[in-house]
Amino acid sequence: MAKGRQYFGDGLAYLNPSDLKGKLIVIEGTDGVGRSTHIELLQEWLEVQGYGVITTGWTRSSLMSRTIESAKEGNILDHWSLSLLYATDFADRLEHQIIPALRSGFIVLADRYVYTAFARDTVRSGNPKWIRDVFGFALVPDLVCYLRIDADTLALRVLESNGMNYWESGMDLRLGTDLYDSFKKYQSLMIEEFDKMAEEFKFEVVDARKPLEEIQDFLRAKIQPLLRQGPRRELARIPVPAGTADPSPH
């Protein structure tokens, strides 16, 4: 906390971020890399240790989620409107959810952050400048972990789970003749963008093809130094009633 919390750009001119004492942790990665599974496990791990945790996810704001759904059904969005819809959703969650939680000392686990918007808009516009300006009001997170995968493995995973959809395949860009070709090309462009940002914004990168436990261990090791340091009070164990198995693992 030496420098205090910062905005990406112009910021929210009416809100001083210096008293936001919680931690903002971001899990980024393309569609289908297992972000939500890891966030669930992290939340459990942190709550067991006594930390207050809230999670927030892309397009989940009460103001915008319906609008974005119906806009995507129309399939005729220009990249400005699409990005501004994401920005509105993000701003709504930032001001109503993330900032109040940080102010109260919560750990905020964000499933995707502005980087997803940066990648999607840049792939569509070829210009990284405007979208970074638009999100100038966003808070710089304390940690960004990026689950990296290659397009081939990703294609298999997505087919095995939910299947490919129009937007995840970037069909609006007309990159390929069918869903599969389009998906591969679009996700390759997205991964390329994420790789560039990994350097620009100093992401902690982990290979999303590794076993789940290994990835989770990596994430916990990166989060651990952010947690409150110093000794916490030793608590007496609550006695387990006779005859019950020991609930603690191992």
Partner: protein, 253 residues
Amino acid sequence: MTPPVLHPHTFGQPHTFPGKLIIVEGIDGSGKSTQLLLLQKWLESQGHNVFFTEWNSSELVKETTKRGKKTKSLTPTTFSLLHATDFASRLYHSILPPLKAGMIVLADRYAYTAFARDAVRGVSPSWVRKLYSFAVQPDLAFYFKVPIDVAIARLLGGTRGQFKYYEAGMDMGLSHDVTESFRIFQTRILSEYDKIVDEYHLTVMDATKEIEEQQDDMREVVTQALEHYKHRRGGYGKRATVFWRRFGVPKPK
């Protein structure tokens, strides 16, 4: 392969489309919408193809803005972003196609409205300008300048009878009285507009003059601006003209 790139317009540089973009700005009660309507009637009577678009009217975000206003959950930033989304959607669907087709586009309010309002609501002025950097620079931008008391008198005496919550800036907690809140909020907007007029060289109209006088002034400016404009029409318009010329009723001898 590089993805298709939409024209990266830079606000501040003249556009290269064959059409013309004329916009009006001013606070509520300045009479700008009346003047734009009269201009449209006149242009159409001259045989021009005119396309009209107004602030915050795209299907995409209308519902959302309504919902946000109802639950009073809009913040200055989401308010600003929703209007920018609406603008982007209208630019793509309603402004660019007719401009490319060589039509005259009339816009009731433009990005300047956001520059004025959002700054008063407290967002960073430089951020709002960056948000709208993809906008097309208008060929003509009129600002209808009116003293606050004239605007209030018009709105209270006119068809509306009362002020709307957000137009009166009630979300800012300036005053519990709606009229008083409107006065404070719109006065601040007026002073923002004054800055914008200088920054973007808007054409200032004296909105206290009589309606027809203002319209004459407006038509004069538009005539000059359209001097080199080659107007195009669709096939239907052309055929009608030819038809009347060829088969017109012969004048009685």
